[in-house]
């Protein structure tokens, strides 16, 4: 379980996050949604320690991550997997080397064991046999799936996903969402997804936080969204004519 308590983040004079508190439970797809510039990615980066919050604390299973020194954070970071918006695969390494990289650094497994794990992860994301390809030889959707394979290679307790559907076609987006949901349930991972894709929200949103102007504006499930009277959330979710029409039919 991850808890964030009263997180503030300021860049210069611009206060991006204004006291956000939330709890993300294991086995659930926790979604952070909001418009561009609402602070979604900044909140995610504060949670994983890429940004230090100006004020507030982050707890991983009741361990205060914010107060930990870099070396103390390493044991928690080994339990974190993250998929970045642009996948962030290492260009100089093959798919297989990308997946085996954390295993090489942090485990004492034999080469055969690491290879077996890499193959298992690739099979899990339906990319069996793509071991020797380089990131430049992969499509956007394949890169995302390799990113997920790398993220789960260390059997993480916490999975963070930043904009998993950006740049993908609707069908691939759904496949990625389903894969994230399956992995979350299968391994009881605490998953936090930052997105503004409404298909993801409606499809896998077990627990949704809506950020507006740097504040937590609304919290609920994908079922609650359809019936909320929160104006800002409605403006965001039902911005398109198609979504408005779909809501009226509900």
């Amino acid at each position: 379980m991850i808890e964030v308590k009263d997180i503030h983040k300021t860049f210069g004079e611009n206060e991006v996050l204004k006291g956000i508190s939330a709890t993300f439970k294991p086995g659930k797809n926790n979604l952070i949604i909001g418009g561009s510039g609402s602070g979604k990615t900044t909140l995610l980066k504060c949670i994983v320690g890429l940004h230090e919050p100006t004020k507030g604390e982050v707890f991983y299973d009741n361990q205060n991550f914010t107060e930990m020194h870099f070396s103390e954070r390493v044991h928690i970071r080994k339990e974190i997997g993250m998929l970045f918006q642009n996948s962030a695969l290492f260009d100089s390494m093959t798919v297989e080397q990308n997946i085996m990289f954390p295993l090489n650094l942090f485990t004492d497994q034999s080469k055969e064991e690491k290879l077996e794990r890499a193959n298992f992860c690739l099979e899990r994301v339906n990319l069996k046999g793509k071991n020797k390809l380089y990131p430049s030889e992969l499509s956007g959707g394949m890169k995302k799936r390799v990113g997920i394979a790398r993220a789960i290679s260390m059997q993480p307790k916490y999975l963070f996903v930043d904009e998993p559907n950006s740049g993908l076609d609707p069908l691939t987006s759904i496949l990625i969402d389903e894969l994230i949901a399956e992995l979350t349930e299968e391994y009881n991972i605490t998953t936090v997804v930052v997105t503004h894709d409404m298909n993801s929200v409606m499809g896998i949103g077990d627990h949704i936080i809506f950020l507006y102007n740097g504040q937590k504006w609304w919290e609920g499930t994908n079922h609650d969204i359809a019936h909320t009277d929160n104006k800002e959330l409605n403006d965001f979710v039902f911005a398109s004519k198609f979504m408005k029409a779909a809501r009226e039919k509900l």
Binding site: R73, R77, F84, F90, L105
Partner: protein, 243 residues
Amino acid sequence: MFHTLGRYILLLRLSFKKPEKFTVYWAEVMREMNSQGVGSLGIIAIISVFIGAVATVQVAFQLSSPLVPQSIAGSISRDSTILEFSPTISALVLAGRIGSSIASQIGTMRVTEQIDALEIMGVNTPGYLISPKIISGVTMIPLLTVVSVLLGLSGGYIACIVSRDISPTDYVVGLRDSFKPVIVTVCAVKSIAFGFVITSVCSYFGFYTSGGALEVGQSATKGVVFSCIWILFADLIISSTIL
């Protein structure tokens, strides 16, 4: 300026923390040595032969007097090649070749979130990305300088054969005449210092890149420019201190 210097020193301190796994770092060092050393051999060979040849021809021209023995041209060419041309000019060329590559490589990793990915995994990113480059720089650039000295002196010999300004025999006599071992020490110290400057300064600019492709290019340019300035500054300090 003090802010930049402070950040540079802190980055270097982080770069030399105990590695997570020695074998992974060692593999990176080997990869960098191949890239920096073997990859730069061609350009170093070409410039060294030409610089040696040009230096010999010009010295011979300036000392064309019946009162000065022809072999002096060989001695002057040797000293200037070992003391200045090979370490400094090679370093300036390598700042362009290796330095820009380091800055743009690390800068691209920064803007494409690859460094963030490493940090999330718990990797000490300055250590993993920068220390292999510095270790490789302070070993391969001195070796490239040795190659440069040998080829530079060979270039001088070839120039003697081709131009006939001085005889090759006089040139060889000059090379062996009144040799002071301290110039080799100066050459070694310079090349090690330049190797450190090129790799660390360019890594610094690459590591603190923010933005996109434009900023990566700017970081590479800044890395090369600052490396060149520090190479010349270090050149003066080392020469005036040891000689």
